[in-house]
Point group: C2
Chain length 205, copies 2
């Protein structure tokens, strides 16, 4: 059986990753998504192995040292990361895995799993991105400027990605990502020599 595809959806803050990935999960129930590990305390109702893998700081750090994360980051004193073993188990069983992640995380994943498929999601224009950030209403002007400036730096890295999907409408963006998944499963390099041979067996003579 061919490996699943590791589909990494990334892009600047305000680009609509969460909405697009939510819709993708609804439409493609076969899509596995990664359960992150974290050192923060579980909140009411959160279950270990479902919402997060909850780890102590010592355990998390020793896993970093053993290279057991596809990516990790420290945010406000807590660690968050994507466990390599969980993702690889899904991929080996033939399931595609969706990772929704910021651009720093995406480039870590690329370094650790170059066979992944990296999609950069963008709003139609930077102007629109500015509007979307503003429209949330909770941001002060300085924070808005900071995020726009960060977005420009992230966009400069676009050549490190395989695909650019413009998020004009959620529906169109989702349709494009679904097409990307179908196409990637048909890539010749996605098949091992053994799989190609197995596909064609049943010699007629």
């Amino acid at each position: 059986m061919p490996q699943g595809v590791l589909l990494v959806i990334s892009g600047p803050s305000g680009t609509g990753k969460g909405t697009v990935c939510g819709r993708l999960r609804e439409r493609l129930p076969h899509l596995a998504y990664s359960v992150s590990a974290t050192t923060r305390a579980p909140r009411a109702g959160e279950r270990d192995g479902v919402n997060y893998f909850f780890l102590t700081k010592e355990e998390f750090q020793s896993r970093i040292e053993r290279g057991e994360f596809l990516e990790w980051a420290e945010v406000y004193g807590n660690y968050y990361g994507t466990p390599r073993s969980y993702v690889e188990r899904m991929l080996s069983s033939g399931r595609d895995v969706l990772l929704e992640i910021d651009t720093q995380g995406a480039m870590q994943v690329k370094a650790n799993y170059p066979a992944g498929v990296f999609v950069f999601l963008l709003p139609p224009t930077l102007e629109e991105l500015g509007r979307r950030i503003t429209c949330r209403g909770t941001e002060i002007e300085e924070e808005r400027r900071r995020r726009l400036s960060a977005a420009r730096n992230e966009i400069a890295q676009i050549r490190n990605y395989d695909y650019l999907v413009i998020n004009d409408t959620v529906q169109e963006a989702v349709a494009k990502i679904e097409a990307i998944l179908v196409a990637e499963r048909a890539r010749v390099k996605h098949f091992s020599d053994e799989e190609l041979k197995a596909r064609l067996e049943g010699q007629p003579e």
Copy 2:
């Protein structure tokens, strides 16, 4: 405007290229297809520039020497070829171009236009290919063996292609190729730096 995609559909004889490409053209009217050049005489009703570009043998040979074909071949004393200028004009105007072609031709196109997207079409198994060849009813056993053996050699070149599409049903094969086209138009490498910049213009500050 981004260049169109040159989509090359190839595969062994008996693989169903003609049916799949016919259906694709029905479903995607924006798809241009190449008009071939030939030295054979026009048949009743055939029009120059529509069915073929009709050329004298001398003219064809001098165009070969000037590198004006993406691929060409001699078949039973007549030349057939795909004019580079016609295809490039279509691509420059942003239209995708479909080329349905045998595997020798496809590899010539790849040498001359490496940015093309190369799809290898195969029946589910070699056994099925054998059946499809036989089912035509017009082939004698020796011809059938010859074509199967040729097919095996062509399949060995599959790593030179970008995509493998298994022609289980015409409908599924066509859906996969349509997805490939959508995905290829979203490839980051499909955009020039100028196009990426233009996409994002409309600076908010």
